[in-house]
């Protein structure tokens, strides 16, 4: 099996020519091309907007200027991203802003992490929807946050701009430290924006929780990054992914020879994974995300649904070769993703707060993405990231519109039939489109992307159980999605304003009395009768755009991205020409051998991308090798069968939701589900309380740690400082003991002196006699 390393490397290096143009011999010192410097503007413009908004905050600007600045900046950044995409010629390149951290040593390899950006298809792919969605959501927020003009408005957009900047650094950074910078930066923005209503203790607590839980993940990421540097001697993607050492590991992995890969290298993905779990809210670190819904809804849509939470997926996709080189990394990712998907779905089913339902559905969908990453290739997950970004942003924005219009009301038992309320048409349509995507109704984007994942679960041996769980979860997803839709938008018209009815708006709560006063002057919401506040043009425009985008996203499954695209869909093209598609020549051979028999009936879109073009085969080695032995699902190709199965499951879920939540419902609060729920005993209650996971964490980790800290504090005070004080007091104690010798009596002194002399002489002589002093 193991052939000479050089003979293996030769084709590798040529096949990875895009990463290593002059790779012959010195792969580790690859210089890759540098791109046009206007690309820096993609990163710089949001930062500029953030700074302008920050200055506006400092100057006390009371207009919507920050919003427009941000929208325009994000939009221009989006246009630049598009032009970057268009001008991309298939060769990755870097753009350097400036030197950041450099430590040159002789012995360990220089630590170089510049403030520079690495452009390949994966980063372009991510940046496209990040900047695009950022533009739309900024526009949405300009209206949504309008009640805060002059209060937190500037602050909001400053953080917003900073977020887009950080996200761009995360995605486009050319080394792990840039990724980490973005990673922590988005965490900071998330913290700031969740805690936007800083007077609300829950918001502050949620922000804190988000940051700290993320920080736990970040620790894993950081350690992974350090270990990467220690092991491979570089932090730059371009060098790392053309490192001969890594190439050989992938090689070993492709033949299952994991014992040949050093444990250090195998630890790297396990550590990186923890970071991904934190940022992407995977079990067991998912608990922060539902709480993060305390932030303003645009934030939930952009950060906590569409972009930031997908950073974990990006990380794994970006470092896929490292994951391949580890025996246990990908299975763990897959299983964690599956568990998260199921767990979050069950919780989502029992919630009544529609924003929370969406939050849990986000967690659940992220679980899908991880499962997709884990089972075979980054493609499915990455594709799902895109589709999910659109429809989940849409869903959140719709929820936000509802919340905005109904004074913070989010309880689905208190809202019904909004479809028929005047001015809510676009919201209803948007919601419906989002729901069908999420539910996986056939031929929607969500349907295609989810199927890719599900199919791979069955294609890859050993993951059938996982696949079935995911299918079951898909059913649950369809059910709880449409539960929301049927309860809130369908049925009889009934609505109760939220508790902010007398306080103008949910958002104003934070600003307390001061704002209350303003509202009083306006007086528009102080009438006894509540009027819902229909969304304005900005919100409607954004919702309409996103609705279209969500629908259009399914087209990406059909449209290819590169010149030869007979079996490739767009996301796959994008993924497969990036570092994520890294593979060794051996696996490519194996793949070809294995795929020949299989290729004939795989005319349906196939994420294996049996593309023979230069970049890479884009297949996980294990998947590749074992592909040949794949057992057909229900007698057919899993990919094909999955269309039917998941379609059916989705429809069943929707039907169930319809029957239980719409059929014959006469009021908002009750439905047919209630008696059925009672049949399950306490289980729905447990699910509503999120299986008490928060409480368990609190009891098992937080409280003991806090008690321990108190103990340490007391230990510090009493023992450590006590010892110090003891030493401090020792001379004084000694003094009290010997003080009687200074009695003031002449004879006493004489006795002391004579006695002292005698004892001293005695001691010295005795000691010497015993040899004690020599």
């Amino acid at each position: 099996m193991i052939t000479s390393l050089t003979s293996i490397l030769e084709p590798v290096l040529s096949s990875t020519a895009m990463l290593a143009p002059d790779a012959h011999g010195h792969a580790a010192h690859t210089e890759i091309g540098s791109g046009p410097s206007w690309i820096l503007l993609i990163v710089g413009l949001p930062l500029l907007a953030s700074i302008i908004s920050g200055l506006a905050a400092a100057l006390g600007v009371k207009s919507k200027q920050p919003a427009w600045t941000t929208v325009i900046a994000c939009f221009i950044a989006f246009l630049f991203t598009v032009s970057m995409y268009i001008s991309y010629d298939g060769t990755p390149y870097t753009v350097k802003a400036f030197d950041w951290i450099q430590v040159h040593t002789d012995s360990h390899g220089s630590l170089i992490a510049n403030f520079s950006f690495y452009i390949d298809t994966l980063s372009i792919y991510w940046m496209l929807f990040v900047t695009g969605l950022a533009t739309l959501i900024a526009l949405y927020a300009s209206e949504y946050m309008s009640h805060d003009v002059g209060l937190g408005y500037c602050r909001f957009f400053a953080a917003f701009g900073l977020f887009v900047f950080s996200m761009a650094c995360l995605v486009m950074g050319d080394n792990f430290l840039m990724l980490y910078l973005g990673w922590e930066g988005v965490g900071l923005c998330s913290y700031l924006l969740i805690g936007y209503f800083y007077k609300k203790p829950e918001a502050v607590a949620a922000a804190k929780k988000a940051f700290i839980v993320n920080r736990i993940g970040d620790l894993g990421l950081a350690l992974g990054v350090y270990l990467t540097f220690v092991h491979f001697g570089t932090l730059e993607y371009a060098k790392l992914f053309s490192d001969p050492k890594l190439l050989s590991y992938v090689e070993y992995a492709s033949v299952g020879n994991f014992s040949a890969i050093p444990a250090t290298a195998q630890w790297i993905p396990l550590l990186l994974m923890v970071g991904a779990f934190g940022k992407s809210a995977q079990f067991p670190l998912y608990v922060w995300l539902p709480d993060a819904m305390e932030g303003p809804t645009p934030v939930s849509a952009l950060i906590h649904a569409a972009t930031m939470v997908t950073a974990g997926v990006y990380l794994i996709a970006r470092t896929y070769p490292l994951f391949i080189a580890s025996e246990h990394a990908l299975p763990i990712v897959a299983w964690i993703g599956t568990i998260t998907a199921l767990l979050a779905a069950t919780i989502g089913m029992a919630q009544f707060d529609i924003k929370r339902i969406m939050a849990y559905s986000t967690v659940s969908q992220l679980g899908y993405m991880f499962a997709g990453l884990g089972v075979l290739t980054p493609t499915g997950g990455v594709y799902h990231v895109l589709t999910h970004a659109f429809f989940k942003a849409l869903l959140f924005l719709c929820c936000g519109a509802v919340m905005h219009g109904f004074a913070g009301q989010l309880d689905l038992r208190k809202l019904s039939g909004l479809r028929q309320v005047k001015g809510w048409g676009i919201v209803t349509i948007g919601m419906l489109v989002g729901c069908i995507n999420l539910a996986g109704v056939p031929f929607t984007a969500g349907y295609f992307s989810k199927d890719t994942i599900l199919a791979e679960a069955f294609v890859t041996p050993g993951y059938e159980l996982l696949g079935w769980i995911l299918i079951f979860t898909a059913g649950l997803t369809a059910y709880y999605t449409f539960r929301v839709f049927f309860r809130v938008f369908m049925g009889p018209v009934e609505y109760h304003p939220g508790d902010e009815a007398h306080d103008h708006d949910h958002d104003n709560d934070a600003h307390g009395e001061q704002h209350h006063h303003d509202a009083g002057q306006n007086g528009d919401h102080h009438s006894d009768h509540f009027h819902p506040h229909a969304p304005g043009w900005a919100i409607n425009t954004v919702l309409a755009t996103l609705t279209i985008a969500s629908l259009a996203a399914s087209g990406l499954y059909i449209v290819g991205g590169s010149s030869d695209k007979h079996t490739k869909h767009y996301a796959e093209t994008m993924v497969m020409s990036s570092t994520a598609a890294f593979s060794s020549p051996y696996s490519e051979h194996a793949f070809h051998a294995a795929h020949d028999s299989h290729d004939d009936d795989a005319h349906a879109p196939d994420d294996h991308g049996s593309d023979h073009a230069a970049p890479a085969a884009g297949v996980g080695p294990r998947g590749t090798i074992e592909h040949a032995q794949t057992v057909p699902l229900f007698g057919g190709d899993p990919h094909k069968m999955m269309y039917y199965i998941s379609g059916v499951v989705g429809v069943i879920g929707i039907a169930l939701a319809w029957f239980l939540h719409l059929f014959g419902r006469t009021e908002a609060a009750t439905c047919k589900m209630d008696p059925i729920a009672r049949l399950f005993g306490p289980i729905p209650k447990w699910a509503e309380h999120k299986w008490y996971v928060d409480e368990i964490y609190w009891a098992v980790i937080v409280t003991p740690l806090r008690i321990f800290s108190h103990v340490l504090h007391w230990f510090d005070k009493l023992v450590i400082d006590g010892i110090v004080n003891l030493f401090g007091i020792l001379p004084r104690v000694g003094a009290w003991i010997v003080r009687p010798s200074q009695s003031g009596v002449l004879q006493g002194y004489a006795v002391s002196m004579a006695g002292g002399v005698a004892i001293l002489l005695l001691v010295v002589f005795v000691l010497i006699a015993q040899g004690g002093l020599s």
């Binding site: 001379p731 004084r732 000694g734 003094a735 009290w736 010997v738 003080r739 010798s741 200074q742 003031g744 002449l746 006493g748 002194y749 004489a750 002391s752 002196m753 004579a754 006695g755 002292g756 002399v757 004892i759 001293l760 002489l761 005695l762 001691v763 010295v764 002589f765 000691l767 010497i768 006699a769 002093l773 020599s774």
Partner: protein, 525 residues
Amino acid sequence: MNEKLALIVPEIVLFIATCVVMITGQWPSRALREITPWIAAIALFIAAMIGLNTEPTPGALLPTIAPYAKAMIGFIGLLLLVNLSGVVDRQLERDVDEGKPFLPLRSNRGEFYAFFLFSITGLMLTASADDLIWLFLALELTSLPTYIMVAISTQSNKSHEASVKYFFLGALGAAIFLYGFALIYGATGSTNLAEIAQHFATHGLSPIGTAGILVALLGLCFKIAAFPMHFYTPDVYQGAAAPVSAMLAFVPKCAGFLGIIAITAAVGWREGGHLPETVESTLWIVAAVTMFAGNILALLQSSVKRILAYSSIAHSGYMLVGILAGPGEAGAPFYRNGLAAVLFYLAVYGVMSVGVFAVLGALETRKDEEADDIECLRGLAKTHPVLGWTVILCALSMLGFPPLLGFVGKLGLFASGVSAGQIPIVVILGINSAIGAVYYLRLVAVAYLDKGQGPAPIVTSSRYAGRRIAALCSAAGVVVLLLVAQPMASAAQRAARIDRPVITHDDLHDAHAETDLHHDDDHDS
């Protein structure tokens, strides 16, 4: 004989001045009475200058110690003299101001200054002592006048109590070291230090010799206020008038250390830089216990004089480290020469200890009542800036705070101690410096920093300018002398030269063999 006389010209000058002073002090003419201190001062100055130019004594054990020691004694004596102004005859002179006739019998002035000069004479004689008899007489001459000075320094009972303790315990101490001298003489057959050294070098340390050395050293501990002979110190310092206490802090200590240097020099340091084991162990224990005893007991005091007394004890312990370190190999540089460090530190200690005593003397709570309680110093830096800053500077210097003079002095001890391999005792010295910091900082804080609860006692400046001048000189000294630290140190290094016979290893062996037979002598003492 003549060559010996040539060595003690400064002492002779002082002696003549003593006689003059004794007369002028009692003179009916007030003007002549007033110039009494000036005569003493001039004599001291002349003695110091002559002492500075003393030729080395050929054949003596410590041939070159005299110039440094005598100059130091002379100049610090001057400082002490300035500080002593107005100690005696206060009431008498006031009466004279009121028109009452001058009664020579009631006057103490003449004998007071005479005693002072006697004491300084004795001290200088100690420095030039090359014989046990001489040493004994010089030590007694140093001490005896101070007993009287303590007694007559104030009219209060405290002075009397101080003097009774000082005198009786002093006699006890003198008897002890005399007995030690006797044993040394018995062991060597000579009273000449150089011959004694020769004897020890060639014949080793006999049991009787060992006992003699130890007893003599322990007796001398009385002079330097070191364990186990230190108990009198706080009581005496507290009872005596502050200027006299200042003198007690320096003069007997200096005499004691000169004596200890002479005795230890006679015993001799071995090639590795160590005293014979018995002597080293004894001094080691004495040094350690002295440092600890002084420093910890000072923590509890509220009387500044007592604090200074305990601090004086502690400083003796510090200096003993230098003795332990020894002079190093022949021609050893300053940092290696513990004796030089001791000599240097003596001067440093003299300068800085005078300061705080002078401040106490310069303040009075009631008429003629010296300030003593630490509360009297409260806010002194504001109310009496010169005195306040003297306290601060001198306290910091005694604490060994860099870069003041005390620090440089302590560095010498540190350096020589470490060079000689006396690491543990140096560490103990360091720890004790830290313990000492507590009460020195207390002085600084009281004088400069803390407001305190309740009103501070009312203190006024006394009418004796001399004490303020002494305080100022002392404060200036701890700073200005830094500039001449190098000449001082090299002078000390030149002074601490020991001409002694080379000790061979065989001799050492003999000494070891004989140390097993000493028990009976021990019990005898």
